[in-house]
Subunit: 325 residues, 2 copies
């Protein structure tokens, strides 16, 4: 039997965590590969989490070699190969953005330190909980003994939304949409870029027109999460878990030949972005290592959008700088 891959999930009793876990034990991440699950929740949700663990046992999955529940991050992350940091404080009534950032920065600095103490040095850590880029930055900076490239923040839901909206507009299968990009922050400043995207090898912009792209599409992607909440009455969960799965799968198994995806990773200065920020770039993955796609031509419109989302990330970083060692 293969050695199980050890996967830790924070916020495991929340809606996104709950959606994710059943897909993990169904082989949705790594196929026919045994896994062990280590689930982390805040102390007041441990009861619910125990129920979730019962349900996981009730799936009788031959791929699930074990489940443990934790309220201590260090115990939860011990020897983890893959970590999904899903849990985060949502924005409450009367909370300023600064409050939200600081509250989550506290959570992610604790979790970064815990990862540093107990996870494998080769661990891959994907932050999913918002504000996700800055949460990932804090975790990474608090785990100095883990290589910075082992941290990422999820913009795959935005990327998938781009692909889905283009496919709907063009009347094609989502699988035929290639080379979409989401740049920057997972927020309303993100820049969903169709200037390199193709459908069946034909530039998307030739089909959908620059007006639709600039005046409707970009806002539609930026506002999509809010529109789902308005329509459904709650936040995206199933599609977020699906995106987390897709991000991690590509990170472990590689992006398809000739394709790329969007991941927020530690900037090396590519495309003029401040080094060290967790910035969403087009990336390709081989042998478990991502590299930022280089030498894409950016026009003035694109450069302006990259600068705007970078500016927001710089402000976020400044707000939590006291938690960055």
């Amino acid at each position: 039997m293969k050695t199980p891959v050890h996967i830790a999930v924070s916020g495991a009793a929340g809606q996104i965590g709950y959606s994710l876990l059943f897909r993990l034990i169904g082989g949705g991440l790594l196929g026919d590969q045994p896994i062990t699950l280590s689930l982390l929740e805040v102390p007041q949700s441990i009861g619910v989490l125990d129920g979730v663990a019962m349900e996981l046992h009730d799936c009788a999955s031959p791929l699930l070699s074990g489940v443990t529940c934790h309220s201590d991050p260090e115990a939860a992350f011990a020897d983890a190969d893959l970590v999904f940091l899903v849990g985060a404080r949502p924005r409450g009534p009367g909370m300023e953005r600064r409050d939200l950032l600081e509250m989550n920065a506290d959570i992610f600095s604790v979790q970064g330190k815990a990862l540093n103490r107990s996870a494998k040095r080769s661990v891959k850590v994907l932050a999913v909980g918002n504000p996700v880029n800055t949460n990932a930055l804090i975790a990474r900076c608090n785990a100095p003994d883990i290589p910075p490239e082992n941290f990422a923040a999820m913009t795959r839901l935005d990327h998938n939304r781009v692909v889905g909206l283009v496919a709907a507009r063009c009347g094609c299968n989502p699988g035929d949409v290639k080379h979409a990009i989401v740049w920057g922050n997972h927020s309303t400043t993100q820049y969903p870029d169709l200037q390199h995207a193709t459908v069946d090898g034909i530039p998307v912009l030739d089909g959908v027109g620059r007006d639709w792209y600039e005046q409707e599409f970009i806002t539609a992607v930026q506002q999509r999460g809010a529109e789902v909440i308005r329509t459904m009455g709650r936040s995206s969960a199933g599609s977020a878990a699906n995106a987390a799965l897709g991000h991690m799968r590509d990170w472990v198994l590689g992006t398809p030949e000739g394709e790329w995806t969007s991941m927020a990773v530690c900037s090396d200065g590519s495309y003029g972005i401040e080094p060290g920020l967790m910035f969403s770039y087009p990336v390709q993955v081989r042998d478990g290592a991502w590299r930022i796609v280089q030498n894409l031509e950016l026009d003035a419109f694109s450069r302006e959008h990259l600068k705007a989302t970078e500016a927001e990330l710089l402000i976020e970083r400044d707000m939590v700088r006291h938690l960055i060692p």
Copy 2:
């Protein structure tokens, strides 16, 4: 490209439906096979359902060829290949079991008639919503032009719980537990039977002992759903969706060689059960057709338990007889 398989799901905005849909579009049912989804909800949940459909688009799954939302069952079931009847009225405060049965009998008689008018004659209909055996009976009896063997009720969650509990007790992988059976009604009268079950070819009862089986295990399985609710504060959803997926997958693709599973299907009188009841039996599936495993030896203990769960199903049937044409 392969022709999409058309799948209808009722109660698609509920917790079980929501868990099921994202696994369907991830290929969890039929693998690399395109599907179209037709989602049914009560009118007051259509807004939520529209949000769910947005989230499905946001997965950009190459397997999803289309999604439609409906409040009319006949439209929802049109040309369906596979149907999951997940939606059902839960038991409210002050409701008697008779009220619950009648209310759901109304829903499932309407849906049976709708299936009869618009679904493919080869449709496979799996009832998941409770009281599931009798709901399936009503749907089947109201769809006289669809072969009765095309209807089933889900006892797979009970079956999986049996396997999971045995695996935990024996310290083995759930995949090593074979030939478990759940007989009868998906209720507290169900009979989880380990008398034919093996682990690695060795009889389970040799390992766990008859006392544990009779005095702890049977009640634990019968009460497992209630225990999950007590622990988690809500009903099983992810594990129920997982079971629905497992049932339908085995029904379409066949049970593994030498194995069987538990499905509530139209009794032909096997094991002395009243013909026509939807009774959970051990079944094997080849080429999309189930057959009840025959000639299993039942001792007095087993026969008594089969009679008890049959008696409950007969009472349920009598309560809704006015809706059985």
